[in-house]
Symmetry: C2
Subunit: 438 residues, 2 copies
């Protein structure tokens, strides 16, 4: 497929990027935190509000819309004939606490904008287009990630109903409060026959594109993550207690956190302890209990699992030496997910097309770069149903999950062009009956 390179399209692209960024700003105003900080969690009033906004934008793009049985906001544009399998486009609208305004959100809004472009062009595709705005990817509220995408993928677990948020509200109760029927959650599950594939745009959440001076990149695969809740129990006591009689849970946890960092670095894995809480948490009381999270991720599942075994041994040793008790509980596990050759090909074709357009037809751009995603994505869950492909967009300093998260309008314009071209490249290949990228 050769993309058109006339001025009208470039201007459309620039205008659409501005609209996408305005919509990012509009969504950012729906937050449970004060002072401009962003937090938007699953099944919250803010979740309902942004679903309504997304539904309106989907309708404006020509889609029929519905909220599925798990609270994901969905839209569909029929293809050349009604009822065709769909290319699913999407990402998530929930956030971490004190979040940025692009992680997940940019992918949803890019998908809607690209569908609007295709609707406007009047072009009919050999598949339907569906957009999904997942309600939970981050796992902020219930500690378990990908709840929205796992509902759609049909891998929902009944055990999750008893998960509780910080206020003690169960997932089951939150469903009911949101107006959903827990018994009907399986209605959100789709099947492999529904889809021809899944494409997602996302900010990189890393520095590789920026360091290579590239606006866009192709995801090769998504690192598998395992998450654990680790509880170290000692004995609370007066801060004047002599060393011989201390069983300080926080001292043990601190030693463990330092050692986990060393083990993971040595094995070229990423380990993050982002949550830690001590009890009773008083200046003059030895910590009787320390609870912390561990998020462990790497390119290969086997390496990651081997390092986890080393960490478990180490926790046992530290706690034995210090007279502490340790308990570990796995809260999340996702195998590494590989993007299919076909969808990596269409993303590459899309990036090349956008590069060409940006360069007024002169193809002097470097070949598209493939990156491993250390961050997890909804695509990991959707990979259970259909093949996946992902487009990464450069973000400033590799910073995400932070208010400083930032993208440029020029990069978003390039991403819109590339994502649209990728969809059309898949359509070309699909029409040709081929599994090769266009």
């Amino acid at each position: 497929m050769t993309p058109p390179a006339d001025d009208t399209m470039r201007n459309d692209g620039a205008r659409t990027a501005a609209v996408v960024l305005e919509r990012c700003d509009e969504l950012a105003r729906h937050s449970s935190l004060p002072d401009g900080l962003i937090e938007r969690v699953y099944l919250s009033p803010e979740h309902a509000a942004v679903n309504a906004l997304a539904a309106g934008w989907m309708q404006g793009a020509g889609m029929d819309t519905w909220q599925d049985a798990a609270g994901n906001q969905c839209g569909r544009l029929e293809g050349a004939t009604p009822g065709l399998p769909a290319l699913l486009l999407g990402s998530h609208l929930d956030t971490v606490p004190s979040a940025g305004r692009y992680d997940g959100i940019l992918g949803v809004l890019t998908a809607i904008a690209v569908v609007e472009r295709i609707t406007t062009s009047g072009r009919s595709l050999p598949f339907a287009l569906e957009v999904v705005a997942f309600g939970d990817e981050e796992g902020t509220r219930f500690g378990t990630a990908l709840l929205g995408s796992r509902a759609l993928a049909g891998t929902w677990l009944d055990a999750w109903w008893e998960l509780t948020d910080e206020a003690g509200i169960t997932l089951h109760e939150a469903f009911v409060a949101f107006g959903l029927d827990p018994a009907a959650v399986t209605a959100a599950a789709r099947t492999s026959n529904d889809f021809v594939g899944y494409l997602e745009t996302h900010i990189e959440q890393g520095p590789v594109l920026e360091e290579n001076d590239l606006p866009l990149g192709i995801v090769s695969s998504i690192a598998g993550a395992r998450r654990f809740q680790i509880t170290i129990t000692g004995k609370a006591g007066h801060s004047g207690t002599p060393w011989t009689h201390r069983r300080d849970a926080l001292a043990g946890a601190s030693e463990a956190i330092v050692a986990i960092e060393r083990l993971a670095r040595d094995a070229d894995l990423i380990a993050t302890v982002g949550h830690l809480e001590v009890f009773p948490d008083a200046v003059n009381v030895i910590a009787g209990r320390a609870e912390f999270s561990l998020d462990l991720r790497g390119r290969f599942d086997a390496d990651r699992d081997s390092v986890w075994q080393q960490i478990e041994t180490l926790l046992d040793e530290i706690c034995a030496t210090r007279g502490l008790h340790v308990a570990v509980h796995q809260t999340h596990a996702a195998p590494a997910a590989h993007c299919s050759d076909r969808l990596r090909g269409v993303i590459a074709a899309g990036i090349r097309a956008a590069d060409l357009r940006a360069a007024d037809g002169a193809d002097d751009a470097p070949a598209p770069l493939e990156l491993l995603s250390m961050a997890g994505h909804d695509a990991m869950a959707v990979a259970h149903l259909t093949e996946i492909g992902m487009l990464f967009v450069r973000c400033a300093g590799g910073v995400s999950h932070h208010p400083d998260e930032s993208v440029t309008e020029a990069d978003v314009a390039r991403a819109l062009d590339a994502f649209e071209a990728a969809v059309l490249a898949l359509a070309d290949g699909h029409q040709a009956g081929s599994q090769d990228p266009a």
Copy 2:
């Protein structure tokens, strides 16, 4: 002074110990925590409730009572003639979170019980007896300890008015809400002329007495403590961020906590990090900020200050290496406080008298043991006004600041005998016009 050794007194002693322990249980029911856990902080409804109970018991012991301008509950029994300087007896009724039921409380109730014995005996002393139940020793609510005793000692700082609790309520606002007039807090201040000395009974909060098979001990001095709030700032970011781009505040804090422990142990000081909080505190977000407390105490102020300098250097080094920023803020500083020879002598005389009584007059008890108190006490603040002496009572396993905090009724009976005998020994010495112990 030779104590009476008849059965009536022994039985009185046993009965009074039971009453003291029942009163500890009654106070334990006044808590802001559910499920039988104890927390009772300065200027809370629970503070008001236990002051009222203590006032009733003081009146029952023959004292006139008042709540002072800082919320301390006070009582006074006149001596041989009205208006004499007083021997001040006391401790505190506030607690840490998830506290035991004896730390501080036992000292207040022992003082009241001993005054009741002296009232009942009809004996007139050459000084008045005052009992004070301090409203804040632990510093749980406002992060600054000894507020109650420093008000009495006249060392209240106006800067404290802006201290806030977790809910953002200032100390000034809490005073008003409790029905106190902040402008009148200086009315709580007493002078050196008001007192002949201060005696305090307290559980040991350490294992030394238990390991020496002794129910009671004499405090030689109270270690000086300094407390700091340490804030390490990095940058929040996605948990998939590569090592090269991480500025993880919790990893830095953990390294610091491990190093602080090593430095303090090597210098024979006690260091406790009991409070730690991370922000934004999410499983999949690198900690952008970690705040923790440090409580540093030792036998000699100079050693402690020297180790603090080493810790400051170390914090700077760790943070420089990790691209973090560190800020430290001292929240509390108390010099080591020495118990006077005279009051150590009367405590020793009291212990010997109680040993004699317990052994039916046969003095085969070991000589009273002197201990350094690593825990801080109200006596440190009162030392600004008058000489201090402290009686330590064995506690099970050296455990305090924990629901398992425990004393035996036999030890409490022995403590009551000893504390009463110490007061009478001081009276004997006082009457003799001597500065030597009886």
